[in-house]
Amino acid sequence: MANGVMTQTQYIPYLAQKGLKSWILTTDHKRIGILYLVTISFFFMIGGLTALGMRYELMTPELDFFRSTTEYNVAFTLHGSLMVFFFIVPGIAASFGNFLLPLMIGARDVAFPRINLLSFWIYLAGTAILLFALMQPADTGWTFYTPYSIQTGAKVIMITLGVFVLGFSSILTGMNFIVTIHKLRAPGMTWSRLPLFIWASYATAILQLLATPVVGITLLLLIAERAFDIGFFDPAKGGDPILFQNFFWFYSHPAVYIMIIPAFGIISEIIPVFARKPIFGYKAIAYSSFAIAIISFFVWMHHMFVSGISETAAAIFSFLTMLVAIPTAIKVFNWIATLYKGSIEFHSSMLYALSFIVLFTIGGLTGVYLGALAIDVHLHDTYFIVAHMHYVMIGGTVMGFFGGLHFWYQKWFGKVFNELTAKAAWFLVFVGFNVTFFPQFFMGFQGMPRRYATYPAEYISYHAISTYGSWILGLGILIMTVNLLLPLMKKSNYPKSSNPYGSLSLEWQVPSPPPHENFDKIPTVTDWTYSYGKNRSEANAKK
């Protein structure tokens, strides 16, 4: 699809330079992508272990694994904070975004490489502050709702300061990606030829840039409330605790899309390659990312239906929430239309992509349930929410993350993993995930509240099944991790081809792993990225 790309033998790969300094001071977007990937994966593992501990506790109705209910509260606060702030918000956007964005648009790096490194170090500083604060047990949950977060003895100021610092990393990354996409596209890489992962990254970057400052200000207000006793959120001083929830969710709902839109981008890249068909509805998929980004700012109060907000506002937001289903469904229907009559190859990354479609659809449709006002009143704060949220976050984002890891693994590391083991791990992950979270829909519907360490005996069978599922899921992730790490430790497992899946996207036209500055000469893009299985000029005309 492009002129000016390199052959395999002429270059020094970006991983060639060794030593700590070459990593901590690197301004190479690919190395920074790896730094993010390693860090977020580490926190994903820790967050996962806390989840396993919680599930083990919930095997029986009594308190037996943790010593007190407060310890259980600390565990879910740690799980939520690590998974949300350390893993899933920066997750795909920062790791895959950094690695792939310049490669996919035909650039040598991002627009501001030093700011890019600064983003990573700010991210690390934020995690350090947050982890230090979490050494003293905190029990606020990841949402820091007032008035409890004002009254608790936990180090709320330090925790929120950590999140505040993390926010700057997100803002700088978003700004960097927006400028890069506008200014550094290769000649011929028009907006209508842009890979869908780049469209998704652009929509995500807008959310990072515009929504993150709101949570920063909100957390500063909370800090001011605790430190100076001002009374923004304290009714006794003329404040309003619901105001905190309004501010918090004004960011945190768009943040859900910061987590999921990059995964949409990954799925849009994997499916046409392994269906050997041009992506169906290219423009609809591209623009729907923007529609989601815009609509996401109009729905935040659906998190607050039972918090005491007015019925008028609740009715308005219940209606507005339904709108977000439209652009999301556009994507799902277009992916399915792409698969239709395709020559499908079940590569491990494709299995994760197909799982994404199924699981995210379940997560999305149960979200429509929860957007319906009357149903939400019954289901709010039950395990139905836990199941819905995990179907979106694990079934959606994490499946996209795993799919992307398997798809671009050779590109990242220049190594190959064992495909059969990868498929076995996928099977365990898929089965384990569903066994863990599907029963939670039922127990939530029957009234089992979330965030409780103990529960009435009638829920024991659902909880036990869910815990067994978490072990299968954990085993699957462990096998996947070992399968992906082993080739990196061997001096073999080199790929036979730099483009093993026959992808037409620009990043696959350079060797694996890519050279330090990606392209010997900036390529000129002459074709659409998704012209699989047909005459390319015909596909170009039809898109």
Partner: protein, 102 residues
């Protein structure tokens, strides 16, 4: 990325910057002066209007927004729309709450 001097490109000389600076000082003085008057519920509104004018001048001249292209304007104005959305819906929610009867 252009490397040449932006102030040259935009013909924004010292005189303009001086006038902007002076305007900001004057508006600061006005902000202080009007505290002598009680506008009742409008106190905050008046203060915010003056502060918004000052912020607008800073964005237009000191941050060169006046000379930027449409895309930069979109990125500058969209957060204002979001702010309007946040405050607007929050006010609607607050004022339509049914009072709690004690």
């Amino acid at each position: 990325m252009s490397t040449h001097d932006h102030s040259e490109e935009h013909h924004t000389g010292l005189r303009v910057y001086g006038a902007v600076c002076l305007t900001l000082f004057v508006l600061t003085a006005v902000t202080v002066y009007i505290t002598k008057f009680d506008f009742g519920d409008m106190n905050i509104v008046v203060a915010m209007i003056i502060a918004s004018i000052k912020a607008g001048i800073v964005a237009l001249y000191f941050m060169h927004l006046k000379f930027e292209d449409k895309l930069t304007w979109i990125y500058a104005l969209y957060p204002l729309f979001l702010l309007f959305l946040l405050i607007g819906f929050t006010i609607i929610e607050t004022f339509t709450r049914v009072p709690v009867i004690r």
